[in-house]
Symmetry: C2
Subunit: 387 residues, 2 copies
């Protein structure tokens, strides 16, 4: 396999973009990423677009040709990639393979979702399509409800207090303050989180990622193209893995472990030949506070049932043992579903480049981005190393 590098990143702020359409968001993100890369449109050979619900929410499919048209690059290879909330992650994986294979030298991995103006379906109905329509969605289950089950089971099984898990939201908001792309740039207290309205007990409103619009793009390139850059503009992709699990919770033996995270993690560590302890920063997919805790465990940073201690002890802070979600995470940076996987990559690359501003970690060399689809039906892990 050829080596693959990230040479450009760009994204729109996440929020309610009533004035921008789906195509506008894609074009803006790609434009920023291309400018960041200093490459030109003519260099782009292929585009992979992560998106979950454009059909349902905008009545629009065929985003590959749509984007190529509006970005002024018709002719390129382009397609949409979907794996629910992990759509961005699988688009990145495909873009990675496209360069690694030797077929393309410059590829755009993009993600986009516009959730604030739905079409026929509301967003909750669109999102539950990530789970089994016939056995789960049909019963009226929502994603918040499914994650509340996980949350409840976790608290009972490991005798953990609500506030120790809810702290993850406080953490995310703290760091989002300094991220210009974040949807909610304000700190919140644990009290605010715990006193916010119940969405599905025990999940409070401030423990759930918001609905938002956004697009993010990353330019991947081969070693040949990478040679023209100074090393401070380049980050190498040292592993990219995707794993699936049984789609729905009711068929799994254990609902407080997402097995796909473990599998994807093992693949990624093997591929990159690094150890867990070599990882300096993590961006994980905490659509709900409880998931942040569970992911830390499933990735191996804590024993099962003890992930919350890392949060409580400050170990996921900027100066902690395993700095995590330093740009605001899904709760506060935001979670425009199909775009989230690419935002996570951008957050990691930003840190590895030393461009994290007030949130910058000292001397981060290796970073991890985890993206999750459904209740862990798909998990992608991408690992990056600064040059």
């Amino acid at each position: 396999m050829r080596r693959v590098y990230v040479c450009g990143i760009g994204a729109t702020p996440i929020g309610e973009h009533w004035e921008l359409s789906l195509r506008d968001l894609m074009v803006l993100a790609a434009k920023k990423a291309l400018e960041d890369s200093t490459l030109t449109k003519r260099d782009i050979e292929a585009v992979y677009i992560g998106n979950m619900s454009s059909g349902i929410l905008q009545g629009q499919e065929h985003l590959g040709s749509l984007f190529a048209t509006w970005f002024g690059i018709p002719g390129v290879s382009a397609q949409k990639c979907e794996a629910a909330c992990a759509s961005g992650g699988v688009a990145f994986h495909q873009a990675f393979l496209a360069v690694a294979s030797g077929m393309y030298d410059v590829v755009v991995a993009m993600g986009v979702e516009k959730m604030s103006d739905g079409n026929t379906y509301d967003v909750t109905s669109a999102l539950i399509m990530a789970d089994d329509q016939e056995y789960v969605a049909f019963t009226g289950s929502s994603f918040v409800g499914l994650n509340a089950l996980i949350y409840r089971r976790y608290m009972e099984k490991f005798n953990v207090k609500h506030e120790d898990i809810a702290m993850f939201a406080v953490h995310d908001h703290k760091y989002a303050v300094n991220n210009p792309l974040a949807q909610y740039r304000k700190a919140v207290t644990l009290e605010t989180v715990l006193n916010s309205p119940i969405v599905a007990d025990p999940l409070r409103l401030f423990e759930c990622a918001p609905i938002g619009d956004g697009a993010a793009a990353v330019i991947l390139c081969s070693e040949e193209v990478a040679k023209k850059y100074k090393s401070d503009r380049l980050v190498e992709v040292i592993a990219s893995s995707v794993a699936t699990d049984i789609l729905s919770l009711h068929n799994r033996k254990d609902i407080v472990t997402l097995n796909a995270t473990k599998l994807a993690m093992n693949k990624a560590l093997k591929m990159s030949k690094i150890d867990l302890k070599d990882i300096d920063i993590v961006e994980l997919h905490d659509a709900f506070t409880i998931l942040g805790v569970i992911h830390l465990e499933d990735m191996g940073f804590a024993e099962k049932g003890k992930g919350w201690m890392l949060v409580k002890d400050g170990e996921i802070e900027k100066d902690g043992k395993i700095p995590t979600n330093l740009m605001g995470g899904l709760k506060a940076r935001g979670h425009p579903v199909g775009a989230t996987g690419i935002y996570e990559v951008i957050d990691v690359v930003t840190q590895l480049r030393g461009e994290g501003g007030r949130n910058q970690v000292d001397d981060a060399e290796i970073g991890l981005a985890q993206n999750v689809g459904g209740v862990g039906g798909t998990v992608t892990i991408n690992l990056f190393r600064r040059l």
Copy 2:
């Protein structure tokens, strides 16, 4: 790039499968392909599923994990690929790159669409999402209407008679008779085609691909895996290309040429290092009769404006100069949108293996499968050589 081979093919018959769900179709196709390959489930490392409208029609996304679950292979890398009617083609392209890259040795490229039981939207509304929602679908245009515009323009520009184009439907039906997977296994006369109801003038009902359900799967493998096979079970993928065009007709200079076909064709010929004249059989994407004619021209088999002569002169017959759509094409084999690209690959591989039965071409060595999304917004070309 590593060499990539097709070592297994399998598909459901195309039709109205009221007794089968989307997941059933996928599982049945994959089971057949796996049996054909003699590999086992445990060998599968990644799955790419072409599908356009499962969100709209079944309320189901996240097909990667859904399939992995129901096929009993959770853990594998899996995702859905979408480029409208070219979804199968782009899924194949990704599966090809996944093996070519060196990351995976055994990969399933699959396509599925279940169109006979829609959810909220009807099929016509779902399909127009392949074009621009804001500038085309919004006006009430349908895909039949857009292709009727192309048809009318072609007839006027090149002074071609309706019956000379409509002949393509007669051709497709003739060959579908001997294809056990075909939706309509009966021959039709030119008179029947021309006297069938007008859908969008000049397009008659019998000039339009039908709506149907189906799933098709292909197993791709690396050279290392291929070594265990006798050569009569193997077909090599000698090129795989994807190209886009401006999404909508109203922005194109010329609507009787699909530029993406030309681009994808050039890429594929370059990649495979073969000449156009080396191609022995063609499966092309004739969702409407007129497209069959236009594709023959854009691929280079006829001058612009003269593709219909190949049909009229019998040159696309089994014993003609360029045998085309020998398993029934989109009109009679059927067109379950996201699956069509994979059915086309299967039809080519079947011929190259010499398993075409009554439709078998003598001594075919190289075959081409073309898959088109929207009105040519995306085109994929895959080239195959028997060993």
